[in-house]
């Protein structure tokens, strides 16, 4: 955002600077206009700084918003997972409770059956005992009595086995019940823990949402401010254009005034095209165009930017050459562009080189086409960017249309 917006504003700034430089070169007599231009330049610089600061703040707000949105999304996902986990735990608890109820019911039934079986066994033992004491069966049939006693033993053994079986079943069920109770307790603890985690996540999400809302408000405010600044800059540009027209008009009048004496010696110099420059133009350095000329859509900020020049990516420290023959009109630092060099090619043609590390020429020094005028700064990534802008008659033109550049 900073780069894009800075580029837009810097374009206007460069134009203004160019005009500022042009003005003393073409009409040194119009001091009031020059003063006005300087004044406007100062205001433009100030506005540019404010705009740059606002853009930086907006960028920061957007970064925070993106970060916050990411956090909110992450929290939402974690909350969804947490809710899913809680739901699973609830289902598990429900299933465990059902099993627990069934097991408890089975234990109760087994206890009842056990009690009944024990009572029956005791009664059978009483019957057997009293029968034995009373000489149950027909004493005249000892074999039958012996058989009946055997059957009584079988009966008691079967009853005792039944009691033992029920006892074992009850013990197994009780063990199962204990296990289920332990499982329920563990699951309940886990549910409590997960619920706490869920509550924490929820509160964090709420907090993050509040923060996001703050960021949104801040962003809107900054966008509004930025819009206002852009409007101001546009107005400023119109002012600069007006001043530029005034300068041109004065130049034209000055040339007419001088025509009385030396009109035959020197014909009027009309604005020319870059293609008509003697020797043509050459690329300032070998590199790839990374930012094109004209209206471009910035996906980062979701805004449309009007580029007045191009940006060429080249190795760090690469030498920058003049695209054509001319005279250095300006060499100095411009906020947002670093060191800026402007070469006047005559006929209202200017070439602007921004983001330089060093200047190898001085203001007013004549340069030839291909002459090294500066160099790009160093960078940890090994790549640096040169800002190149061509202006003809006060209008920025696409450098790629006049210079063969690698796109």
């Amino acid at each position: 955002m900073t780069r894009g917006t800075g580029r837009i504003l810097s374009a206007f700034l460069a134009a203004a600077v160019g005009l500022c430089i042009l003005f003393p070169a073409s009409a040194p007599a119009a001091r009031d206009v020059a003063a006005e231009l300087r004044k406007e330049r100062g205001r433009l610089l100030e506005m540019k700084e404010r705009e740059e600061k606002t853009a930086l703040e907006l960028t920061e707000a957007l970064r925070k918003e993106k970060l916050s949105k990411g956090r909110v999304g992450e929290l939402r996902e974690r909350l969804a997972r947490q809710r899913s986990l809680l739901s699973r735990i609830d289902r598990k608890v429900s299933v465990l409770n059902e099993r627990l109820e069934r097991a408890e019911k089975a234990v109760r039934e087994l206890e009842a059956a056990h009690g009944q079986a024990r009572t029956d066994l005791r009664r059978a033992e009483v019957v057997a005992f009293t029968g034995e004491r009373a000489g149950a069966g027909d004493p005249c049939h000892p074999s039958a009595r012996e058989r009946e006693r055997h059957f009584m033993r079988v009966y008691l053994a079967a009853d005792a086995e039944g009691v033992a079986r029920i006892t074992r079943a009850r013990e197994r069920k009780e063990e199962e019940l204990s296990g289920l109770e332990r499982q329920v307790a563990v699951t309940e603890r886990k549910r409590t823990q997960e619920k706490k985690v869920g509550d924490t996540l929820l509160s964090r999400q709420e907090e993050e949402r509040r923060r996001l809302a703050d960021i949104e408000r801040e962003k809107k405010r900054k966008e509004k401010e930025l819009k206002s600044l852009r409007a101001k800059i546009a107005r400023m540009e119109s002012v600069v254009s007006r001043v530029e027209r005034q300068v041109k008009e004065r130049e034209r009048r000055a040339r007419k005034g001088a025509a009385g004496g030396s009109a035959a010696r020197e014909p009027a110099e009309d604005p020319r095209r870059f293609a008509s420059l003697s020797g043509g133009l050459s690329a300032p350095l070998a590199g790839k165009v990374v930012t094109r000329f004209g209206r471009q859509h910035d996906t980062t900020f979701d805004v449309t930017i009007e580029n007045r020049g191009v940006e060429i990516e080249a190795p760090s420290g690469a030498p920058v050459k003049s695209v054509g023959q001319g005279e250095v009109a300006f060499a100095g630092a411009v906020s947002g562009f670093g060191n800026v060099l402007i070469v006047q090619h005559g006929g209202g043609l200017f070439s602007v080189y921004g983001r330089l590390e060093t200047f190898l020429v001085k203001q007013g020094e004549a340069v030839k086409k291909g002459a090294v005028v500066g160099s790009l700064p160093g960078s940890p990534s090994g790549k640096s960017v040169l800002y190149l802008e061509l202006r003809a008659g006060g209008t920025a033109i696409d450098p790629a249309s006049a210079i063969p550049l690698d796109r």
């Binding site: 029968g131 069966g137 005249c140 000892p142 074999s143 039958a144 012996e146 055997h150 009966y155 079967a158």
Partner: protein, 296 residues
Amino acid sequence: MSERPSLWWIDWRLSRPPLVRETIGRFLYFCLLGFALLSLLLSGGASRFLADRYAITAVLRAEVPPAGAEGLARKVAGLPPVRSAAYRDPEAAWAEFLRAYPGLDPLRGAGGNPMQGYIEIRIRPDRLTGADVDLVTSALRSVPLVEQVLAGDEWLPRLLRAGRLASLACWGIFGAFLAGFFLVGRLQERARALALAGDFAFLAERGVPARRLAFFRAAAAAVSGFLLAAAGTAAGGGALFLSLRKFPFLEGAIGPPSDLLLPRTIAAVALFSCGAALLSAAASLLGWRAARSVRK
């Protein structure tokens, strides 16, 4: 020509009324003895009674099917000492158990019937001995279908000993009655000899030897004794037959009426009649001798 008088039935001709009384008495006595004799012959003393109450129980395993149990019962019934072998299924065992221990049925409402089926084996009365019982039980124990054999190992020897004693007692009583018959008969013969002593002296004076007289008297007593014993035993047998028919429960102790017509029973009756004849003859001789000694 001198005609020698017949000495056959001399007593009958000399003293008819007392002899009729004695004959009636002896017949009735032989009826009683015949009844007792046939009862003892049929029952074998206490053997039939005990055999009717004693049974070997072969408890089968729970998984034995009814068809297998029936087959095993048939095989067991083929053993020589065995009178009968009957299979009782678990339901019958359960019913029998509940009859012995009423009130247990509702206690096993959910438990079902825990009893196994069994085979009840009864021994022939004449084979109710320890050896025969051992033979049957050892045969049963070797069968895999049989889980347990209940043969009264604890009380069977006592039962058999009691049975032997009871049989001896019965036969002893019978023998005592026979001895009583003999003694009474001797007394009667002596009394009659004394009563007819004058007549016998008259005959002796006319050349009838006393020895011959005694012989004929003994012979007549033997014949009458045989006939009376046979008739009395037959009458007693008839009474026994009627009793057994009228009171079937007696069959358990005595035996079926049909056994009365078995050859061995008839032979035993004939032997008894012969014995009675001998006893009658002996009583006559001894009574004669006792009367002679009194006269001297």
